[in-house]
């Protein structure tokens, strides 16, 4: 189903664009909606893991926040299309679900940090919950191009809330499914099956897109097996470009210092072991700039441990830029910044 764009060298991410995207199709996919926009300028630059934002409600809208959607798929037809999957659960997404082909949307993208790809061919486990699975299939195509194998572990509350199981069966080496109500696959949360899948697939690397509490547990399990993990966090955003400072998380740097970073520009993909999961929604006392914070003496901060050597050049740049403190807090990792 997903097709990768033309192979691009692992260069630095490119700047996003603001365009008028035309709705090509809008279809139901079980409990969710999938919208395809004609957006050649975004499709040409996109890399798996990145997202777009859309202004909702029309020109005189009372909804000022843009809605952010992780991209599911890009295709070359009509000069380049972008597809995303969403659930109509608030006024903005309900408005989107009522649109028709040929409607035009103020669209910005591609935004955010894409998934880094392992340096060497690896056995990759792709874990997704609900429509959060959407970005995994583009990632899968890219990983397989690079000689990686892909195993899937997908979950949801019920059968109609497991996204992409068919595609996973088709292109994965294995595909496991769990649902909360047992209507599809094993009954229970994805995390209950995770260790078994890791052992059977001999997983080298995990990619996970799920609610924060699931990501916390996935990261803990990956830590026990000493497996590097990249997570895509689903944090509410209002602008997607870094100006509103709304989508913040405490993230440990590779220099051992915790910073309050924006998931739109520093993420949404993070190394799972660096996110301070238990401190989300708080300002940890030792975060840079927290009340009473003082710079630790040189060498005192403990660099984050973990299997850093696995990732390629993009992760190295990210580590050097945001996570090593080359960039001050709150002003981190914009495209082209880490030079």
């Amino acid at each position: 189903m997903p097709r990768s764009s033309a192979a691009r060298p692992a260069g630095r991410p490119v700047a996003p664009v603001q365009i008028r995207g035309t709705v090509l199709t809008l279809r139901r996919v079980d409990a969710y909606h999938a919208m395809t926009l004609v957006a050649p300028a975004i499709a040409a630059k996109f890399r798996p893991g990145q997202f777009i934002t859309i202004a909702v409600g029309g020109p005189d809208t009372a909804m000022l926040g843009r809605r952010a959607f992780v991209v599911h798929d890009v295709r070359p037809d009509h000069g380049g299309t972008v597809e995303f999957v969403f659930e109509a659960r608030g006024p903005g997404t309900r408005w989107l679900a009522g649109l028709r082909a040929r409607d035009v949307l103020d669209t910005v993208g591609p935004l955010g940090r894409p998934f880094p790809i392992p340096r060497d061919p690896s056995k990759c486990l792709l874990l997704g919950v609900g429509y959060g699975s959407a970005p995994l299939f583009g990632l899968s195509a890219r990983l397989r191009e690079r000689g990686c194998s892909v195993d899937y572990l997908l979950g949801g509350e019920s059968a109609d809330r497991v996204f992409g199981a068919l595609t996973a069966r088709r292109n994965g080496r294995s595909a496991s499914v769990t649902t909360t109500d047992g209507s599809f696959g094993a009954r229970g949360p994805v995390t209950a099956l995770l260790e078994q899948v890791i052992r059977e697939a001999r997983t080298d690397v995990i990619y996970a897109c799920a609610p924060v509490d699931v990501l916390r547990e996935v990261t803990a399990i990956a830590g026990r097996y000493d497996i590097p993990v990249q997570v895509s966090v689903d944090v509410p955003m209002a602008c997607g470009t870094g100006v509103c400072m709304g989508c913040v998380l405490p993230v440990n740097g590779t220099d051992g210092i915790t910073r309050i970073v924006r998931s739109c520009v520093d993420g949404p993909v993070f190394r799972g072991d660096l996110v301070r999961w238990d401190d989300i929604g708080t300002i940890p006392f030792d975060a840079l700039g927290a009340p009473g914070w003082a710079a630790p003496p040189a060498g005192a901060a403990q660099p984050a441990r973990g299997a850093q050597g696995v990732w390629g050049a993009a992760q190295d740049r990210h580590d050097r830029g945001v996570l090593r403190g080359a960039v001050p807090p709150g002003y981190t990792a914009l495209r082209g910044d880490s030079a």
Binding site: L64, V243, G281
Partner: protein, 313 residues
């Protein structure tokens, strides 16, 4: 559409409002920062600051409620990294400063005065005063005046000082008056309006900081009223008008009330290229009115009858 800020000539009168343009780099991905009238920075403080925990933002009808809590890199990182970057891109930079004590404000003004390229200082008075039980400086004319006096005293004389006022006061003219008397070269109004929203499901305040500042078109009538009152009292003091500007027509409304420059804030979160769009729309609005220059309409709503301008049908 040119405007002046002290010694600095601005290519146009549409600015970015403090805290809504990030470090400038965020918007530069979509728009040429050199073509924005001036970039007003996030409020800079003496030290790095984490701000408030999440959730920090809530969308409300035609508004945005925020309790970001002035997250920022501190003045050192700003001067080392953000200011030079903005200047290298040809932007004019107004630096917004915030402090918890009068001394912190004065110290910041001093630091900025040692730096080339600061077009003006905007003093964010909506900060908790650590020496007054966390009461905002902007709420009290005397304390607001003390801050402005201290900033004016330590800032280089050729750098204009603008006082940014809060609308959350009974008498905004009294606060404006104290700031002007203390040496403010201009006024910037308005800052956000204190608000709150509760998550009915959780039965708790939605924002981690409980209260937040309301911005966006929801507060535009409050901005227009404040600008009008202050302009009526101080017709010669330049005003940067802000509060819910989404379109050229909204900018025109604030000009007519008495602002001579416009700052676009929350709309930048909705449309990162809003400044250039608002400017273009404002030019069209002025053309409809038959006005050659923006100055022709500034404060004109105060006149008994519009002079020399074509009335809109």
């Amino acid at each position: 559409m040119r405007a002046r800020l002290g010694q600095t000539e601005l290519p146009n009168l549409v600015l970015t409002a403090a805290g809504c343009a990030g470090a400038g780099r965020e918007l530069a991905q979509f728009t040429d920062v050199a073509r924005i009238g001036a970039v007003i920075s996030k409020s800079i403080m003496a030290e790095p600051r984490t701000g408030n925990p999440a959730p920090r933002l809530a969308e409300t009808p035609s508004g945005m409620l925020n309790a970001v809590g002035l997250q920022g890199p501190g003045v050192d990182a700003f001067l080392q990294r953000d200011l030079p970057w903005l200047l290298s891109r040809g932007a004019r930079v107004v630096v917004s400063i915030a402090g918890q004590t009068i001394r912190e404000y004065a110290g910041l003004a001093g630091r900025l005065s040692d730096t080339a390229g600061v077009a003006a200082i905007e003093v964010n008075l909506s900060c908790a005063n650590a020496e007054d039980a966390g009461q905002m400086f902007a709420l009290d004319p005397q304390r607001a005046g003390s801050v402005i006096g201290a900033v004016r005293g330590s800032a280089r004389p050729d750098i204009p000082v603008f006082a940014k006022l809060s609308p959350d006061v009974t008498d905004i003219v009294a606060v404006a008056s104290a700031c002007v008397a203390a040496g403010a070269d201009g006024l910037s109004l308005i800052n956000t309006v204190l608000g709150m929203t509760i998550d009915p499901g959780a039965m708790r305040p939605l924002l981690a900081g409980r209260y937040g500042g309301l911005s966006g078109p929801a507060i535009r009538p409050i901005a227009v009223r404040c600008v009008w009152q202050v302009r009526a009292a101080f017709p010669d003091v330049p005003i940067i008008g802000s509060g819910g500007v989404r379109a050229g027509r909204d900018a025109l409304e604030l000009l007519l009330a008495g602002a001579s420059m416009i700052a676009v804030g929350t709309e930048l979160m909705h449309d990162p290229s809003a400044c250039s769009r608002v400017l273009k729309e404002l030019e069209e609005e002025l053309a409809v009115l038959g006005a050659d220059r923006a100055a022709d309409v500034v404060g004109q709503a105060h006149a008994r009858a519009p002079r020399g301008l074509v009335r809109r049908a």
